[in-house]
């Protein structure tokens, strides 16, 4: 009986942490993730749970009524916004808290949500193009600039699907993207396809720039999650530097060719 009880505790903890990890990877706020882990453990009658999370890991200890402790952690390497999955995970965690289903069944539901991976998606591709075109105009470009931003956005998306998903270093990938944007924008303008190279670049750079990350980091720090806020802030600064390096490379290249 005791054996089974311990096993059960580990299973609940494992379920809660995997769900938390999934949420962090989809772009959830840290305090929301911690709250979710707490709530799930509480739903399965664990009276005391300690949880800590930053953007690169989730870590939790549960203490049973007899005083046994169990600790597990999950390391998180990559994250990309995926709000559809985030909403599904959120719904699942609500369901778990409300109904406390059998743990094996809950795990099967979770695996199903975490499993759906698609490579090429027409809608995301469309999203890249629409976003790049709109922001080229938003920041003061002409319609021709928007038209020039579209093929670059398409190339960025293809790079994202075929290079980034192979686990390439993120900094290198960002610098490469910036270099491609800078180079193509200059070339397009040189041959008369577009009026202002910088408007084309800004439109496309919106796709890779860590602007949202910057806002989120300041927000998290003001909310009290200084740790993950700092990590996010540093990451966004480093990414911005990578973008600067990519631009520098493209400027050198176009300067010597055009």
């Amino acid at each position: 009986m005791e054996e089974k009880n311990q096993n059960e505790l580990e299973k609940v903890l494992s379920l809660a942490l995997d769900l938390g990890k999934g949420m962090v990877q989809c772009g959830a706020e840290i305090n929301r993730v911690e709250e979710t882990v707490l709530r799930i453990c509480y739903a399965y009658n664990i009276k005391k749970t300690e949880v800590f999370s930053v953007i690169s890991m989730v870590y939790a200890t549960v203490i049973s009524e007899k005083g046994e402790t169990h600790t597990q952690m999950r390391r998180i390497y990559s994250n990309a916004p995926n709000f559809r999955r985030l909403e599904n995970l959120n719904a699942l965690s609500r369901k778990i808290c409300a109904e406390t289903p059998d743990i094996d069944r809950a795990r099967k539901d979770l695996e199903k949500l975490l499993g759906d991976k698609r490579h090429f998606d027409v809608f995301i591709c469309l999203g890249y193009i629409v976003a790049a075109m709109s922001f080229a105009v938003f920041f003061g470009g002409s319609l021709l600039d928007a038209a020039a931003a579209a093929p670059i956005a398409l190339i960025l998306y293809l790079m994202n699907v075929y290079i980034k998903s192979n686990g390439v270093n993120r900094l290198f990938f960002t610098a490469l993207s910036a270099a491609v944007i800078g180079f193509l924008a200059e070339v397009f303008v040189h041959f008369g396809f577009g009026h202002n190279a910088d408007m084309i670049m800004i439109g496309d750079v919106m796709l890779i720039i860590p602007g949202l990350m910057l806002i989120n980091s300041v927000r998290e720090m003001l909310c009290g999650d200084v740790m993950s806020g700092l990590l996010r802030l540093l990451e966004s600064i480093i990414l911005a530097m990578a973008i600067a390096c990519g631009f520098a490379a493209s400027m050198l290249l176009t300067g010597s060719i055009l």
Binding site: R84, E87, V130, F135, F138, M206, I215, C223, A244
Partner: protein, 153 residues
């Protein structure tokens, strides 16, 4: 900023929000909701640009409105607020400023780099404070509810 420019910003802000909703893999049924949020945010941004000189104020009020919108709509459609907020606030993301900051850094125009960097920080803090003002209140209410079922510090 005249009327035509403002109109262009509102329309492209909305389209940009739609683009980013697709890019962030938002559920299809939320795209219209996000688009309205993006339009509202850029509308308030345009109005603030006409009335305030300081970048902080220009970004504080739109961020405030976007957060209220996201929190209210999240309650209405019973979904988490973060995805709606992340999409609606997209038109305020200082992509242009960040671009010029890195650009001046690369061509080593240090004076221009300094001034754009300060502007960038003003914008970012305006946005963050705007979001915080609302989300602190919401967070307190949520915590109060949560406290009734589980004892958290």
């Amino acid at each position: 900023m005249d009327f035509k420019q403002g109109l262009i910003i509102v329309i492209t802000g909305m389209l940009g929000t739609v683009g980013f909703s697709l890019l962030f893999k938002a559920p299809k049924r939320r795209i219209l909701l996000n688009a309205v949020g993006g339009m509202l945010t850029s509308l308030v941004y345009v109005l603030c640009c006409m009335n305030f000189e300081h970048e902080f104020m220009q970004n504080f009020f739109p961020a405030l409105v976007a957060t209220v919108y996201a929190e209210v709509m999240a309650r209405v459609v019973k979904a988490p607020a973060t995805p709606i907020l992340a999409c609606s606030i997209i038109p305020l993301v200082p992509g242009g400023k960040l671009y010029y900051t890195t650009y001046y850094f690369v061509i080593s125009e240090m004076e221009m780099f300094n001034s754009t960097l300060t502007e960038l920080l003003r914008i970012a803090s305006g946005l963050a404070v705007g979001i915080i003002c609302i989300s602190v209140v919401v967070h307190e209410i949520n915590r109060h509810k949560f406290k009734q079922i589980i004892d958290v510090e």
